[in-house]
Symmetry: C2
Subunit: 397 residues, 2 copies
């Protein structure tokens, strides 16, 4: 090519264009006191003749999952089933890949659906898989654990653990629908409910004095009994807790609007407690310890009366939630403040409960001293020795 370029190179050529990316979606969270086998028409209607893959755990499959799939098939819905072990250690990209592989095999396309029928790990894996398949297909979540019904299964987050880092990979990806069936809790043991009970108490403490009063009005251990017997009272408590959680989440679903989040109450020290125990302490137990610790700090800071602090501690122990473990020491507390500051983009925003039922945010790690931690830890240690320490559930949810 010998001809000269028509124009010479021009380093000063500079242009820019803004691209606006807007998205408005919505999804419906629904609760029903009915049995899952009585919800067939609803689910069939949601599927609208589109192919769907129901992902469930082995336990759920044998209890009612495979039965549901068979009934949906009888109703003419083109559904397939995938049984997936769902424990914290199998909450991996490999599990997501298994779901994607099954979806590819079934030739699921843009209008197809995934259904996550299981606990938080199951719905997390399904959420991430749905976000990736064909750049995002619809998914329905039917959480089968209490924590799934009031917390893990109702928002837009999904994540898996990666290279030893908890929830390092994931997505913000709204479901198509969420169906909460308190009846499913009747197959769970009392221990299985504890994680969710901790989250219900959290919501009551940070935003709902009525829910708090309802919880306190129940006789000792009665909450888990109500939940397992699928009473109307239990359904009301779950719905109140779930919608309270959604009210908190909705204005900041992508967690990009602000780093002050009331629902972070109980979630500053708990990640390190869980990790320090090698995940032998369950999430709900760690959250309970975190709430107990921050309640004592709040009292120490003059934000909470001694009476209110003791009401919180009593509510936790009455519901068989632990308030202390050997992992919870001053060093862990200090480290947790640094980790949370990093995690929340430079601002600690430690959530402390206050007298009127709202919350107060501590913005800097320097505002909490080691003697304050030492005081709180020592107090909990004394209290904790008298209370139960729960192990996490061994079976898959």
């Amino acid at each position: 090519m010998s001809s000269k370029p028509i124009c010479a190179p021009n380093p000063s050529f500079n242009r820019a264009r803004e691209v606006r990316v807007s998205q408005d979606r919505s999804y419906e969270v629904q609760i029903s006191g009915a049995k899952i086998s009585d919800c067939l028409d609803t689910i069939v209607q949601w599927l609208d003749d589109k192919p769907a893959l129901v992902v469930m755990t082995p336990t759920v499959a044998s209890l009612y999952g495979m039965d549901l799939v068979a009934r949906l098939e009888k109703h003419g819905a083109p559904v397939s089933a995938q049984i997936l072990p769902c424990t914290e250690s199998s909450k991996t990209l490999a599990a997501v890949e298994l779901v994607c592989a099954r979806a590819a095999e079934l030739k699921l396309e843009r209008r197809s659906l995934l259904i996550g029928l299981g606990g938080g790990v199951c719905t997390d894996i399904v959420t991430v898989a749905a976000s990736l398949i064909r750049r995002g297909i619809r998914h329905i979540r039917i959480p089968t654990t209490l924590i799934g019904q009031v917390d893990a299964g109702i928002g837009i987050k999904g994540a898996v653990n990666f290279n030893g880092r908890k929830s390092y990979l994931g997505c913000f990806y709204p479901p198509h629908r969420v169906l909460i069936l308190p009846h499913l809790l009747s197959t769970l043991s009392t221990d299985h409910l504890q994680d969710g009970i901790a989250e219900i108490i959290k919501i009551a403490l940070v935003r709902d004095a009525v829910l708090l009063a309802q919880l306190e009005a129940l006789p000792s251990h009665m909450l888990s009994y109500e939940l397992r017997t699928n009473s109307s009272k239990a359904a009301e408590l779950i719905w109140r807790s779930a919608t309270g959680m959604l009210d908190e989440l909705e204005p900041n679903l992508y967690e990009d609007k602000q780093s002050k989040r009331a629902v972070d109450f109980g979630h500053t020290f708990s990640p390190l407690i869980e990790a320090a125990s090698g995940y032998s302490i369950s999430h709900g137990s760690a959250v309970a310890m975190d709430m107990a610790l921050t309640s004592i700090l709040a009292e120490y800071c003059g934000l909470l009366s001694v009476a209110k602090r003791d009401r919180i501690l009593t509510l936790l122990t009455t519901n068989r939630l632990p308030v202390w473990a050997p992992e919870l020491d001053v060093n862990l507390c200090r480290e947790a403040l640094h980790a949370a500051t990093l995690h929340r983009c430079g601002e600690l925003n430690l959530v402390l409960p206050v007298n009127d039922g709202g919350v107060h945010y501590i913005s800097s790690a320097g505002d909490i001293t080691d003697p304050m931690f030492a005081h709180a830890v020592a107090y909990l240690k004394t209290l904790g020795r008298a209370s139960t320490r729960l192990k996490p559930i061994g079976t898959e949810l």
Copy 2:
């Protein structure tokens, strides 16, 4: 537990709550006639002292990528480099995982960044990785190929191949910034530019008569020469094409608003041509054949004059783009209509060019008969024998 539940189970308990999920973001696409080594200040400013991982191909690394990283480091930016083979066969979830693993190793957190410095495969892998890490971190794309600069690297889509299915897994995930540097094209061979030239011609045909006239005004083969010599003229053509593409994409970035997309011109038969050749025919070559085919169909349907049809065919062949290959037969055409109908959620929406420079959509596969395909294929076969057939690029981009 012997006490009775306070309330009985109540199957008629039903409540529902709508959750609104809104997101408004924006990103800037910028073009500069400068060399990449003269853009250090700009990139350093974008990084804002946050840790960043620059992902690049081996070719880019040796040409200017590692030099860029060294210069950024000298400017005090906390950047690391990752060299990743980026071919169509390595466009996999495993490649995404490699980037995520490096990110985890470097402890990249929510405010960290990825930089994709490479062709479409590289920026696709980086986009998917960025969407997953900590549920989404920012990423900057610096596309190093022409197709990256006018098409693959400027929108919000990222994808990888999975279990033999092209782009089966991916995301819609906007970049933080896109930097288009036409100067980077100077290291590419003419063959490397062909894919991008096909997409520039596409944009000219579906929406930009001025761009079309500019392309037609260039002497034979002159476009690739302009592009490789980084002339101002080339930068203007690239910018015109890129912004034309963005104008088309912007109202429907998530492809959920409508399935009539002018930018699908050239992208109905081409996926099957590529697949049928075992990907030995490059994307741009397949797009060129598709545009040639649909132009003949458009003339046959009375939408395009013979003169305009021949202008299109001449523009393609002048730019050394192929218009026919043995893979392109009537069966493939018929299959492509079915596949596209499925892909576009039940509506074919085949894009045909029309006389005035706009497009016409054929909504049903039944509107194109096999004799029409036979006529078009025979015409192209005759024409194609006289024109070049390009092989895809063997080296990594």
